[in-house]
Subunit: 131 residues, 2 copies
Amino acid sequence: MLTIGAVAAQTGLTEHTLRYYEKIGLLDPVPRGPGGQRRYREQDLRWLEFLLRLRATGMPLRDMLAYAEQRRVGNTAESLALRRKLLAAHADKVAEEIAVLQSTLQLLQGKIDIYRGWEASLPLSYQLDKE
Amino acid sequence: MLTIGAVAAQTGLTEHTLRYYEKIGLLDPVPRGPGGQRRYREQDLRWLEFLLRLRATGMPLRDMLAYAEQRRVGNTAESLALRRKLLAAHADKVAEEIAVLQSTLQLLQGKIDIYRGWEASLPLSYQLDKE
DNA sequence: ATAAAAGTTGGAGTGCACTCCAACGCAAGC
DNA sequence: GCTTGCGTTGGAGTGCACTCCAACTTTTAT
């Protein structure tokens, strides 16, 4: 049973953000101890860590919210199919994004090498073509 | 010599954004035709396309601006070294981001397969563990 | 018992990257 | 030569995802 501070430390989120995620419905209401303070369970932490991976791969909160809402619906055939589709759509976007990053990484490495060349041979001869 | 509309169509940016990029200094002031309308040159387009690849890989405008400002400085040894470092730092981030995306893509594919399994065998048996 | 640290709420504020608006000026096609 | 639409400016507004504030309560450490 973790306090909000402990969860913040473990996940790298701020306490503000944890409360915010709960407020908007990304997290189910976290159980409270005496005095009304949040006590996070293992399962809350696991769910949060999954959300963070969605976030790290660029999924907007809006989409995470749609997934969270389906989780609350329960395991009906429709809900399971919908959740699978949400994840599959995101997986496609991630794959596409990987391709974009890889091609640009190559471009960058090419440019970096050109800079290295310019810096090695004196740059005087290149005043004209400033790419 | 392209009009702002033509450049917008080619790059996918809006005309608003093109003016905005010029206003903040990402683009050098674009030459104007009679009447003050922008006429983009080939070099403006090439620079813009490079910026778009930086943007597509998550570089903030602030950093693109730093690079653009160094380009204006000219090809001094210091400026070339600085620009190379800016690109190298970004390349590192991109490589890191690719790693994150790839590991999460695997996770997603695993989860998608689990959903497929649930949907195939009737989901009744899984009411307890709603991951 | 008390002081310091950690937690609570609703609501306002922030930074980024656009995005749109009003009011107007030029340009290309018929 | 007139209309239709493309272009101009400064400045205000938007959506996202936090982030902070004020005023307060609860918990923990000494």
